[in-house]
């Protein structure tokens, strides 16, 4: 019996797959493959999450804001009260931009489109497709400072 079993274990175990017998060696290889695949998939998912967040940050929306909530800087209201607010406004600029409001002086400010051409029928209840004011010179390029010629619509 011992003589009959020995050659078989030699063939399946040592000579082809190393020291383990055949079926066990195959399982071992599958485990290795699973480990490698798991590693690759985890690396891929980490990078894909990173790139997704980077890509999403290019398109401002309320969801981006939710994702980056933990990274949002906290405002120092002591500075607001002391009226030293330059840093605070710089901090809140990304937050405002994510909500579609662009501060004067930022790069995004100059990339915004010209306002709608029609003034609001009721200046106190403007709709999204209406401008707040009646412009004497519409379709002019936005200037660096607010010296646009406007008047209230009656």
């Amino acid at each position: 019996m011992a003589m009959a079993f020995a050659p078989e274990s030699e063939v399946l175990g040592r000579s082809q797959y190393g020291s383990r017998p055949g079926p066990i060696t195959c399982t071992y290889q599958r485990e290795n493959l699973n480990t490698v695949m798991w590693t690759i998939s985890s690396i891929f998912s980490t990078f894909s999450q990173y790139f997704f967040l980077r890509l999403a940050s290019l398109f401002p929306s309320k969801y981006n804001n939710l994702m980056s909530a933990e990274k949002e800087p906290k405002f120092d209201w002591a500075n607001w009260r002391e009226r030293d607010t330059t840093n605070e406004w710089d901090k809140c600029s990304p937050f405002l931009e994510s909500h579609g409001v662009f501060l004067l002086g930022t790069e995004a400010y100059f990339k915004t489109p010209l306002p709608p051409s029609s003034p609001a029928l009721s200046p106190f209840l403007p709709t999204p497709d209406e401008d707040f004011v009646y412009r004497l010179m519409p379709y002019t390029v936005r200037r660096k400072f607010f010296y646009s010629y406007v008047r209230a619509s009656f």
Partner: protein
Amino acid sequence: MRYQHPLCRMGVDSLGREVYIKVVQRKSHEWQIMEFLGSPMMRPDCTNHTIPIVSILCHHDGETVFIVQAKWGTDWYSSSIETMKELYAVTHQLLEGLAFMHRHGVGHGVI
């Protein structure tokens, strides 16, 4: 450079319309007054001539609120009012709006 209030900044919205952005604390009286004057109950009042609020942005810290308002014109002295009729119309609106605020127990403060 013109004088700018430290808690106000100018900007534009995504449609390209000029806006004023004012930062207030949620627990402040100013925020309570702005919320009251811009509420759906007060806004349809034809004597409510306070500047309309475009959007209210509440920050995640729970304390800071950004109030985005429409920007109207430049100022009283450099406005483009041309006729007496327009001047009277503007003055009437100003006084009517002031009376509206006083009627609801709100004072302007810087007139």
